[in-house]
């Protein structure tokens, strides 16, 4: 009896999970389906069976070269993630293993910067970029993306580092390890799962960032967010082309997320049940 109840619960939970997953994924699925329709099909209401044309993809590629934007997206997301880790690992170490009275306040303050609407600082940031000659430069945007995501990266790493027993680091110190040796040879290898999931999440966040990547670039540093934006039109229906551009833009990060989902989930739930 008890076993059948458990089985029934499991079945219900599985069905519910599938329904929720489908609901969440449906907008992406419909975008992909629409990308294989003609423009006329795309506006003729809800239809899950496309004619299977590749016309939109070829037009999108002909209109604005995809690979230039793709390359910029890769450079910006990976570059900003490396920069963020270089700053965040020492910061998280000091907060986790050498906390002060104000550590919690600093962490909260860092997080509070994420609550400010980005548009509020658009003009100051734009002027700084203009004066430093960083407008439409990859390096400028890399630093910007690093700064945007830094609070989350520090918070995540801080949470992982707190899970590592301090005694291990003490033992390393007893053996004569310097501070940098301790961070590089002892702490970092032990926190690899956490660092990896932080890295993946940061790449996803940087890849999807649209406010600054559109506003601080023109041609040379423009990533895929600018590529999608160029297909949005207030006068004229280009839904199939817009869907093809969106599919091309999200495909790489979707595939990466699919293959690394175990690592991501493990990292995100690390320490959650403690």
């Amino acid at each position: 009896m008890a076993r059948s109840v458990t089985t029934r619960h499991k079945t219900i939970a599985t069905v519910a999970a599938w329904i929720v997953a489908l609901l969440i994924f449906f907008p992406i699925l419909y975008t992909i389906i629409t990308s294989f329709k003609s423009e006329q099909e795309a506006i003729q209401g809800f239809n899950l069976i496309p004619s299977g044309t590749f016309e939109s993809y070829s037009e999108v590629q002909a209109q604005s070269g995809y690979f230039k934007f793709f390359l910029n997206s890769v450079i910006l997301s990976v570059g900003s993630t490396i920069l963020a880790l270089l700053v965040a690992i020492p910061a998280a170490w000091s907060m986790a293993f050498s906390p002060t009275k104000r550590t919690k306040d600093i962490l909260m303050w860092m997080l509070s910067t994420k609550m400010m609407p980005a548009v509020a600082v658009l003009f100051p940031i734009y002027l700084i970029f203009r004066n430093l000659g960083l407008l439409d430069s990859r390096i400028g945007l890399m630093v910007m993306l690093m700064l945007i995501n830094l609070p989350i990266v520090v918070w995540m790493l801080y949470t992982y580092f707190r899970e590592i027993p301090g005694e291990i680091l003490e033992a390393a110190r007893m053996d004569g390890a310097s501070l940098w040796n301790e961070i590089i040879y002892v702490l970092t290898p032990m926190a690899v799962p956490g660092i990896a999931s932080t890295m993946l999440l940061n790449i996803i966040l940087a890849w999807n960032e649209a406010f600054w990547t559109i506003r601080l670039t023109t041609t040379d540093a423009a990533p895929l967010t600018a590529f999608i934006s160029s297909f949005s039109s207030p006068q004229g229906l280009f839904w199939a082309k817009l869907s093809a551009a969106s599919t091309l833009a999200i495909a790489p990060i979707l595939i990466m997320g699919w293959f690394s989902q175990k690592q991501l989930v493990r990292g995100l739930t690390f320490g959650a049940v403690k």
């Binding site: 423009e39 006329q40 506006i43 003729q44 209401g45 209109q63 604005s64 658009l122 003009f123 734009y126 002027l127 203009r130 407008l135 439409d136 559109i214 506003r215 023109t218 041609t219 423009a222 600018a226 934006s229 160029s230 297909f231 949005s232 039109s233 207030p234 006068q235 004229g236 229906l237 280009f238």
Partner: protein
């Protein structure tokens, strides 16, 4: 072998020297059919001007507006040519943010630009932007449904006729709405339509002393008529509908009439995308016999920011893209129907264009019926038909648009929406120093 190497080396050196010499200009533009077509045809320009390279930045309209405003206000210098609308030109020209276009060339023929369009792009008699394509608004209607209703659309209908026709054409059982109008909130969305409509009802945003006028009976008549008409004969969820949503409805045969941009005529009459392509008729925007029609005037135009270091190259490009030669180039490659409309009188005098675009005459008549310098029945201190050319209008227009959209959705009454609009406009005008 040595000779070949030498020649190749010389070629490479020349190419490098040429590339180093070439001047590149960056053009910010919107994504629509005409602009995309221009990008495809730029070989014609670069062949004639091999020392100028073109870089394109295509953005969604609102993002483009925000980006170019940020850039021009901070003198960021990211763009050498900007695609801007009739709203920005007078404001930016007065701020000295734009260069006057006085070197467009001897064969450019400035006088050929349609006077109503040129008037909206000039300040103190100087042209600050060259129109790439222009538009007004008019009535697009289903001839078959009009016949079925036993009515005949006049060339210049009144609002009462529109109401009568909409009532008769509405057939909810078959999914036909008598009329489709913009309801989505935004200064360039529902407020473009409602401001133009209010002109024909004798309303105005401000009196001569910048006092807001939403508490006057003309605005009450406008908004009440609009809400009643849409409730009786409009599509469901009309408060979310903008240009694209109504275009889709009309193309699918779900609208008896649609009053919107003249540029839509080429979409609804295109058999590739429209199920009613051969059944569409056109008429001027309605009026109430007060001397003003409910049509707007807009032109996407190319302007040169004052901060550019490549003004000469930029002006060469602007001259090419808005010339008669460009119109002929498009006609030769893609047919006359695809020539950017609404900018040059000569295009409308061309019999080939008249033949290819059956809506040509009505488009020109609509453009000529709009006067941005005298947009309303009563006098006003501003220019602009469907907008008020002051910097505060974008924010205020969107706020009022949200209030009117809520009235259409039934979330507030017409009276409440107008009262709140009056309060919002008074606050914005006081803050801006227009009134005390």
């Amino acid at each position: 072998m040595k000779l070949r190497t030498l020649i190749l080396g010389l070629c490479s050196t020349s190419a490098l020297a040429f590339a180093a010499h070439a001047e590149s200009i960056t053009i910010a533009t919107v994504n629509n059919g005409d602009m995309v077509r221009m990008q495809k045809l730029t070989d014609d320009f670069t062949k004639a001007n091999p020392d100028i390279q073109l870089n394109w930045v295509t953005l969604e309209e609102n993002v483009l507006r925000e980006r170019v405003t940020t850039d021009i206000a901070t003198k960021g210098g990211q763009y050498d040519v900007m695609t801007i609308g009739t709203y920005e030109v007078p404001i930016w020209a007065k701020q000295s943010w734009l260069l006057p276009l006085d070197k467009l060339g001897d064969d450019y023929d400035v006088k050929d630009i349609i006077p109503a369009i040129a008037g909206g792009l000039s300040v103190d008699g100087k042209l600050y932007a060259a129109p790439f394509y222009g538009e007004s608004s008019f009535v697009m209607y289903r001839k078959d449904l009009m016949d079925k209703a036993g009515l005949k659309m006049p060339d210049a209908p009144t609002w009462d006729f529109i109401k009568q026709a909409a009532d008769k054409m509405t057939d909810r059982a078959n999914g036909v709405n008598g009329v489709c109008l913009r309801g989505k909130a935004g200064w360039g969305e529902n407020m473009a339509f409602l401001t133009a409509m209010s002109n024909s009802f004798g309303a105005r945003w401000f009196d001569e002393n910048w006092k807001p006028q939403f508490d006057q009976p003309e605005w009450k008549n406008t908004l009440q008529f609009y809400v009643d008409l849409m409730k009786a004969d409009g599509p469901e969820g009309a408060s979310s509908n903008g240009f694209n949503e109504n275009l889709a409805l009309f193309q699918q045969g779900k609208c008896g009439m649609w009053i919107d941009a003249t540029v839509a005529a080429s979409f609804v009459s295109d058999p590739k995308n429209s199920t009613v392509a051969d059944k569409v008729g056109y008429a001027l925007a309605p009026d109430n016999g007060l001397g003003k029609r409910g049509n707007w005037l807009w032109a996407w135009s190319l302007a040169i920011p004052a901060g550019t270091k490549k003004a000469d190259a930029a002006e060469k490009f602007v001259s090419w893209a808005t010339s008669k030669h460009y119109a002929e180039l498009v006609a030769s490659k893609e047919g006359w129907a695809n020539v950017p409309p609404g900018t040059r009188s000569s295009l409308y005098a061309n019999p080939e264009y008249q033949k290819a675009a059956p809506f040509a005459k009505m488009t020109l008549d609509s453009i000529n019926a709009a006067d941005p310098t005298h947009p309303t029945v009563k006098p006003v201190p501003y220019v602009g038909v469907q907008f008020v050319a002051i910097p505060e209008f974008q924010g205020l227009g969107t706020t009022v648009g949200q209030l009117f959209s809520a009235a259409l959705a039934g979330q507030s009454s017409v009276d409440d929406a107008l009262k709140q609009a009056q309060d919002a406009a008074t606050a914005a005008m006081t803050e801006g120093g227009y009134i005390k």
